[in-house]
Each structure stands twice: as C-alpha cells, then as structure tokens.
C-alpha cells in the first residue's frame, strides 16, 4: 500500500530539519486561529504558545520515530490537535465548563484518523517517559547510555563493567520498565483502543 504524501508534508520535514524559515510559516499561517480559539476559551496567548509548541514537538517525535506521513492538509489536522490538547488542559485545570465554543470546521474521516494516530502516539510516548522516570537511577543511566551509544561494547566500557554484565543489566532494566508500563492504568486504556 502506498501512502500519498500531502504537499503540506513540507511542514513535517521542516520539523525534522529544524528549518526555521518554513517553521515560521507555520506560526504565521496557522497560529492566529489557534491563539483566537484558546483566548475565546479561558486561556491567554502564553497558553496558546505552549499548546502550539507541545503539539509541534509531538509531531516531531512521531515523525522521527514512526516515519509519520501527512496525507491531509496541515491546517485542519494541526488545529484539531491543538484544540483537543487545550480541552484536556482545561480539564486538568479543573475547569468545569470544558465544552469549547465551537467554530465550524468540517473534518474528513481521513483527517480525523491522522489526528487520532498522533494523539495515541503522544499518549504512549508520555506514558513511556513517565514510567522511565520511575526506574531506579542506575537503570535510567544505563538505558540512556545504551540508547545513545548503541554499541554495547562501548557502553560497557563507558560504565566500567563487563560486556556480559551490561547486556544482562540492560534486559533486566527493560524488563522492569515493561512491567511498569503493563501495570499502569494508562496502558490499559491505550490498549483498549
């Protein structure tokens, strides 16, 4: 199955390449609408900026890890992601009135699907990050070194342990992390999708 890239995929590429010229277009073209939506719904410009930045960083992660391909226009996809993120933020802040004043945006099924994909990716990413921080200091260090250096021989050298020990430790730490993720509520929820 070949997936057809939308012309707006340039924005995804700009995130991967940290291309500030193209990224400034994202802010210029798409942010006013989002800022207006946040402000209309008990937020301020700073909130909008945070939401926009967090959303873009999530897309960056998804693109680097999963080779995310944008198949629909960026505008609606991005707007919807930001809107739902803001809705969640409002809920977190304990705001009772969380129905966002609706502006009419028609959304195709395809767009909806891409939005959901990104959202599920983000939830998983956040869950993994959270659980990683629950590991002991030693495990965190070892795993970080492992994924940064790649070669287990060099990892062993850097940590001053034997190759065999480093490998055994790595799988143990990963095993601990696996169990933490498996036991979490968030995972049960994600899994039910």
């Amino acid at each position: 199955m070949s997936i057809k890239k939308h012309a707006d995929h340039i924005y995804i590429e700009a995130l991967l390449k940290n291309d500030s010229r193209v990224l400034s277009k994202v802010y210029e073209r798409f942010s006013p609408k989002i800022v207006a939506m946040v402000k209309k719904n008990s937020g301020c410009a700073d909130d909008a900026q945070d939401i926009i930045q967090e959303t873009l960083v999530t897309i960056f992660h998804q693109a680097s890890e999963k080779n995310f391909i944008l198949t629909c226009p960026f505008d609606a996809y991005f707007y919807l992601l930001c809107k739902r993120k803001w809705l969640n933020e409002l809920k977190k802040r304990g705001n009772k009135r969380v129905t966002i004043v609706e502006d009419v945006t028609s959304i195709t099924e395809e767009q909806e699907q891409q939005v959901e994909e990104t959202e599920i990716f983000e939830q998983q990413h956040q869950l993994f990050e959270l659980k990683f921080k629950e590991l002991g200091q030693k495990c965190q260090e070892l795993l970080k070194t492992t994924f940064k250096i790649k070669s287990m021989e060099k990892v062993a050298e850097a940590l001053g342990v034997t190759y065999g020990y480093a490998r055994k430790k790595k799988s143990q730490c990963m095993g601990q992390l696996t169990k933490l993720v498996k036991a979490s509520n968030e995972f049960q929820q994600l899994n039910s999708y």
Partner: protein, 245 residues
C-alpha cells in the same frame, strides 16, 4: 525466571537466537498471551527510547527555534495590543518598574478608578510543608516570586494535582490565573476557597474582589469587599480599596 524472558527478547531483537530457540520463541508468542503482550511492550519501548535519546539534542534545538518563533509571532502581537493604550511607554519596562505604575495610573486612569496593580502585592509563595518533590516546590516558589506566572502555574498545578486538598496551593494557583488574565478560572478557585472554612477563606475573598477590579467590574468588586469582616487581616486593605471605589 522472568529475567530469562527479557534476555530472550533482547536476543530476538538483536537476531541472535538459534533456529531452535527461534522456533520455541514463536511458539510462545502464539500460545502465551502474557508473553506476547510483554514482548510487544518491550519492543515498543526499545523503539521509543531509542528514538527519544537519539533525537534528544535535535529536540532541544527544535524547542529553541519554536520558542523564538512563538515569541515573534504570538507574544509580540499581544504586547503590541496591550501597549496601544500607553504607547508612549515601553510595556516591558512598565512591568519591571512597578513604582512607575502609579504615575501611569495618573495618566491613563485619570478617571480616578483604582488600578489593580496598586493592590496586587502578593505575599511570596513559601511552602511550609516539605516532602517529596522538594525540587518542584522550590522551582514553583522561585517562578512565582519572580513573577513568572506561566511557569509558576504549570508547577503549582502539578503539585496541586498531587494534593488537591491543600487550599494554599489552590489559592496561589488562582493568583497565577488572575495574573495571566484567565478570570473565569481564577474566580472559580477563589469562590471555592471563600465558600469554605479554611484559614484562607478571606484571603480568597480579597482576591475575588481583585479579580473583579482587574476587569473593572467595580460594583461587583465593592460588594465582594463588603463581605470581609472587621476581624480579619484583609479588612484594612479592603476598606482602603472601598474608599477609592
């Protein structure tokens, strides 16, 4: 026993299993759902952590770019709008020099209405109860006391989520919202506290009044101030503001 399982996962992902071990591995994947589920998590974690750490520096660089662009395209726009009224003055300098605010007050608010900034002197945030997350608490204190309310709000919300009963934290959350002009959120929090029976009951009432003052809803502000009884710490301030209204 279980450690063996993870070593097998590791070997499988590195394609180091012998054909015999491989056959056994695949049999387990089908027969044992727990084995399968753990393997899927293990594999997803491997991909995710790999990508996260590999791209850590790129992420930092990207965030720096985005922060700059955000400042350029989002923040400046708001600053421009707010300075319209007082275009002769540099808005940022105004924020810093609180003392000048009184002067500006004479200029802009020459109708005699008291300004929010004249009364918004917040007591420094100092957590008395220490415990876990000391670092987060110190950061929150620092952010709030240096008037970085966006950052303070983030941290206080995080702390607040862990201990929702802490009224003082909720009060400071409200102050952040007020400073950030999220009036509905601020009012909601102050209302809850002032309707309660905590030590912060009247402090919250005072802040509720300030929330109205900042929005120039002077009648509502007055009515709220009148509910602050003489016996409280806030009474004197409340009277002072009432006189000006």
């Amino acid at each position: 026993m279980e450690d063996v399982r993870y070593i097998t996962f590791e070997k499988y992902l590195n394609k180091e299993l012998t054909s015999e071990e491989m056959a056994d591995f695949e049999k387990q994947l089908i027969a044992n759902t727990d084995f399968k589920q753990e393997f899927e998590i293990y594999k997803a974690l491997e991909t995710s952590l790999n990508s996260t750490f590999e791209n850590e520096e790129k992420e930092t660089e990207l965030k720096a770019t985005l922060t700059n662009l955000g400042k350029k395209y989002i923040k400046e726009e708001t600053v421009k709008k707010e300075t319209k009224v007082i275009s002769l003055f540099n808005y940022k300098k105004l924020l810093v020099a609180a003392s000048i605010a009184v002067l500006i007050g004479l200029f802009v608010f020459n109708n005699g209405d008291p300004a929010y900034s004249d009364f918004a002197n917040h007591t420094n945030l100092e957590f008395t109860v220490r415990g876990e997350n000391d670092e987060m608490r110190s950061k929150a204190e620092e952010a709030f006391n240096t008037k970085n309310y966006t950052e303070a709000l983030k941290l206080i919300t995080k702390i607040g989520n862990q201990d929702l009963k802490d009224t003082e934290i909720q009060l400071y959350r409200g102050i952040c919202y007020l400073e950030l002009n999220s009036y509905d959120a601020a009012e909601g929090l102050f209302n809850k506290i002032s309707n309660g029976d905590s030590a912060f009951k009247y402090k919250a009432t005072w802040y509720k009044a300030l929330t109205y003052l900042k929005q120039e809803q002077f009648e509502k502000c007055k009515n709220t101030l009148k509910t602050i009884p003489e016996s409280t710490e806030e009474y004197e301030l409340a009277q002072k503001l009432l006189k000006k209204l």
